[in-house]
């Protein structure tokens, strides 16, 4: 795991500016939630960290290494999408072992690692199944196991719970949250669901219109919003947060 630093990152597409001077540090082992309405630039920020977008200006660094122009395949980042994006031409186990295979790790070893991870996520018995036969929640666990298998510098989660039903969401949220803190993962968690962000993240960055409005602990953001936007966005339908948990 590593410390992630974004320094004055700006991303323009022709006339429109998607990210407008974002600076953010994610400490080693910390999970930062990026919260904001759709179109605020949070996904672009995440894709910049992953390397799928090269910023127009500014730099991205992992620990002290500048990775701004490093292609995604050499960055060692884990990605989890809302749409799972599992490889249907491989079994569940092969999906999880894919990253290790790319790193030239021997077959026996990568199978062992994949089984461990799947066990940890409670779907160990599904290693030989076809991913298309799994339920949505199970597929999302496979996606998570696949991203964790490479021991990434940073785990990037792009709305991973959206699209799951409420009950499953609550259960997965607790389980995954626990697992991530147990594994001491550095993570960037993009979501538009503030409850999710408050429950799963150590700190929250609220974005609007390509800018960071406020970065702070969930309590700080909730109790002393820095701008009017933050106060409006956070207070909206977030009546009783289970603060007891912290």
């Amino acid at each position: 795991m590593a410390r992630i630093t974004l320094d004055s990152v700006r991303k323009r597409y022709g006339e429109t500016t998607a990210v407008n001077g974002v600076s953010l540090t994610v400490d080693d082992g910390e999970i930062v939630g990026v919260l904001g309405p759709s179109g605020c630039g949070k996904t672009t920020t995440l894709r910049t960290v992953a390397g799928f977008e090269t910023p127009t200006a500014g730099t991205v660094a992992f620990d002290d290494q500048d990775v701004t122009n490093v292609p995604p395949e050499n960055r060692n980042v884990g990605l989890v999408f809302q749409e799972y994006a599992l490889f249907d031409n491989m079994t569940v186990g092969e999906n999880v072992a894919f990253g290790l295979k790319m790193r030239g790790i021997a077959k026996a070893k990568r199978r062992k690692r994949a089984t461990e991870l799947l066990d940890m996520l409670g779907i160990g018995e599904m290693a030989d199944r076809d991913p298309t036969t799994l339920s949505g929640g199970q597929q999302q666990r496979v996606g998570l196991a696949r991203a964790l298998a490479i021991e990434p510098n940073v785990l990037l989660l792009d709305e991973p719970m959206t699209g799951l039903d409420a009950k499953l969401k609550a259960r997965l949220r607790d389980e995954v949250g626990e697992l991530l803190s147990e594994l001491d993962v550095t993570g960037l968690y993009v979501t538009h669901d503030q409850e999710e962000a408050m429950l799963m993240c150590d700190r929250i960055a609220v974005m609007n219109d390509g800018r960071m409005e406020q970065v702070g602990t969930p309590r700080e953001v909730y109790e002393s919003p820095a701008t009017e936007f933050v106060s409006e966005f956070v207070s909206l339908d977030a009546p009783q947060l289970p603060f007891v948990q912290w």
């Binding site: 390397g51 799928f52 977008e53 090269t54 122009n69 292609p71 995604p72």
Partner: protein, 313 residues
């Protein structure tokens, strides 16, 4: 007022800027820095094999055909002469051939699309028993080359044909008098045999995208089926019909195998083959090929540009 010097200077700097732009574009593909450069390089790599095939098997041969068609000599591409085109324009024989191609393809296009509309309508809108089978049967002839379509017409309308002999049985006249396979009407039917399935395929795609709510609304307001079709369905499928007409007409012009079996009307494609078979007049054949290419290209481009045609292949 700008002086000449200023002009050339401005032009020069514009040129420098263009060269710079081009060199950075090439540079970013050869030695990419950003992810966007790398993506651009990927797109170039993905398109390269197709572009190579298109250049080697399409563009170069077509250019060679154009060159020989305007050559001053018959078998070498030298100089520039429009003799071959002159022949095409002035010789009434070639005008007749062009006319044959146009009426045959045009007439069969109208007939085929005209039949394909009710076929597509029935297949897509009515809940018919065995619909899948009907779709398969209507689509089957798409895979048949023109020579087989011609044989199908011989089976129906030839000397041994089913329809011919039924007619002979009923009228008492000899079958050979009634056979129309090897005649212009027979050819017309043979063209339709190839074109109806294709037109149906295109129109079924159009029908599939239809907004059913509007039709149901019209029906619930008491519109008759015909009026519903005329005022609600037809306006929606009109772009699809225009598209089908354009593509089917192209198909009709390209038909050749059918004519090798039923050689009654000389059309453009058949004449091209005859130029080569008798005397190997590659120059006139080249001019005919060029004219054909330009005509279909212009026809398709104008058709798509100036009508509401939708071509969803």
């Amino acid at each position: 007022m700008a002086t000449l010097g200023e002009h050339s200077e401005r032009a020069g700097s514009r040129l420098r800027a263009a060269v710079h732009l081009a060199s950075t574009a090439v540079g970013s593909i050869v030695d990419p820095v950003t992810e966007r450069d790398r993506t651009r390089r990927r797109i170039v790599a993905l398109c390269a094999p197709f572009a190579t095939l298109l250049a080697v098997a399409g563009a170069y041969p077509l250019v060679e055909v154009v060159r020989i068609s305007v050559s001053a000599e018959q078998y070498r591409s030298v100089g520039f002469a429009l003799e071959a085109y002159g022949t095409l324009v002035t010789d009434p024989y070639y005008r007749g051939v062009a006319f044959n191609s146009l009426w045959l393809a045009g007439g069969t296009t109208l007939a085929s699309v005209g039949v394909a509309v009710p076929i597509a309508h029935a297949l897509e809108k009515y809940d018919l028993p065995g619909e899948d089978v009907l779709v398969t049967l209507v689509s089957f002839p798409i895979s048949l080359p023109g020579i087989v379509a011609a044989f199908m017409i011989l089976v129906l309308l030839g000397n041994n044909g089913l329809v011919t002999n039924l007619a002979a049985l009923l009228t008492g006249r000899p079958a050979t008098d009634l056979a129309i396979a090897v005649s212009a009407p027979g050819l017309f039917v043979a063209f339709c045999y190839s074109m109806i399935p294709r037109a149906t395929l295109i129109l079924r795609g159009t029908y599939a995208e239809l907004d059913h709510a509007a039709e149901e609304a019209a029906q619930s307001l008491g519109a008759t089926p015909w009026r519903t079709f005329r005022y609600v369905t037809l306006p929606q499928i009109r772009p699809g019909i225009t598209g089908a007409v354009i593509l089917t007409f192209r198909t009709g012009l390209a038909i050749f195998g059918t004519l090798i079996v039923i050689q009654t009307v000389v059309v453009w494609t058949l004449q091209i083959s005859r130029e080569l078979a008798t005397g190997y007049d590659i120059q006139v054949a080249g001019a005919m090929a060029t004219a054909y290419f330009l005509f279909t290209f212009a026809f398709t481009a104008l058709g798509l540009r100036y009508t509401d045609a939708e071509v969803g292949l």
